[in-house]
Symmetry: C2
Subunit: 277 residues, 2 copies
């Protein structure tokens, strides 16, 4: 075997190109800061898009290798990724959504992925080049928090990113770090589609009062300051956490809730923006 590493890399890139060419829209979901609910937003936007298209035409790549949570949120844990001559086959989520996550490769719950950057980048490249997505309308890539190796590798490896959705919560502290995410996109020339503000307010289940748990107005503020569209504001609904814990698709179980309605509205707006493109 005398194959050169450079040839290897070129081959990988051309395989990624071939896979991505069959996907109509490639979206990244990013946040500067962890715990703002990025994976929950990704999962529910995928559900909303799956209701507008065929579920099998929607794919989610869980780019978070150390804290993979997409399969848990969508009730797709326990299924294992399989491989054949054409490549790696995704597992199946609700409505037939195609999911690829390192969680579907790990032997048990507690197994930590203790990998340094280069190994993580390699795993991401493998996912991009080897997964048999088939024809997709949308591939949503859930990036890990921050602007580190995985985010860089994905941003540089996907031939054309159609849009980045940035997730934040209202607090100033979160804004300050989300600004870095917007700058990250601009430096890498990734088109920012807009911001989704999550956990915007909480309705007290006892008295109905609106509580600003994580302050108020951060999404609007950063939207104005950075010149980025505010796609929507998702209220903090304890049922989102409950559904995610149970692996039930929130958008179906609580479809009349204000948060579910907002997810549907945001998915609609995303499609309008992309079509106007």
């Amino acid at each position: 075997m005398s194959r050169q590493p450079v040839a290897d890399l070129e081959e990988i890139r051309s395989r990624i190109d071939a896979r991505m060419r069959r996907i109509k829209r490639r979206m990244l979901i990013l946040s500067g800061k962890g715990g703002v609910g990025k994976s929950v937003i990704t999962a529910n936007l995928a559900l909303a898009l799956a209701m507008r298209h065929d579920g099998e035409k929607i794919g989610i790549l869980d780019g978070d290798l150390t804290g993979p949570s997409i399969p848990k949120i969508l009730g797709a844990r326990g299924q294992a990724l399989s491989a054949g001559p054409p490549g790696i086959f995704p597992v199946e989520g609700p409505l037939g959504i195609k999911i690829v996550s390192i969680d579907n490769l790990l032997p048990e719950d507690d197994t930590p992925v203790i990998w340094r950057g280069p190994l993580k980048s390699r795993a991401i490249m493998d996912f991009l080049s080897e997964v048999v997505w088939g024809e997709l309308e949308y591939l949503l890539v859930d990036l890990p928090p921050g602007t580190g190796d995985e985010a860089l590798t994905i941003a540089q490896s996907i031939p054309r990113v159609d849009g980045v959705i940035i997730v934040t919560i209202p607090s100033d502290l979160s804004q300050f770090i989300v600004r870095k995410a917007v700058s990250f996109c601009r430096r890498l020339e990734l088109p920012v589609l807009g911001i989704v503000e999550n956990m915007s307010w909480l309705v007290c289940p006892n008295c109905g009062a609106e509580i600003s748990v994580f302050m108020h107005g951060g999404g609007e503020k950063i939207s104005t300051e950075m010149g980025v569209r505010l796609l929507g504001r998702i209220p903090l609904d304890p049922n989102i956490c409950k559904a995610s814990d149970a692996g039930e698709p929130y958008l179906f179980t609580y479809k009349e809730s204000p948060a579910a309605q907002e997810f549907l509205r945001i998915a609609n707006e995303i499609e309008l923006i992309l079509e106007a493109g």
Copy 2:
């Protein structure tokens, strides 16, 4: 200059040793998942320890290079790290707490740190080997979420870690990822001191009802399952977010609040555990 990289690394390690020898207790604050309030917990535990010792005897190393938030939470932004012949001097937080964060090196708010793993590891090594902490009672190292490069480098570079505090929120989804953090510590033979459950419940400011925003009981559950002590449970107090946004030390501004009291109690318990050693 013909110095070998290996000699370099040995020299760095011996410099780290010399710095760390002057620190009585070296603590890591870790979470598998982002956004569970790890930095807020670190900052407030540092304040609680500073009230029990001299504030100048408490140091915080902000190990989060892509989302540094310690200076913001403790109102120490705007100060710049300075360097002299003995090394890098920390900036000063409330009560004289010594803080080192990459935030105190960045030119402006929006600047993202777009570094791959090896560069981040090197920056962490520099902080460990070059910062002039002087004599400290406690050094708290706020690790970035996950079990990636920074966490690995810090865990492997600090000669003796006295204890790791793992931060979580009550939800199952969070537990599932925190289990990985506990396993990470065990593999690297780091002593886990215990778990702090954050955002445990919210008291409605209107009617006083206790709301389980992120489910209930996760901290206790993981504590039992993994055989790790539950150090305490911090309620979700919107004033924590408010104070952190304003850079006011929460523990002083809201010292009668249940959350502040719990921080003080946890700090006391940590000291008792370490003394019982």
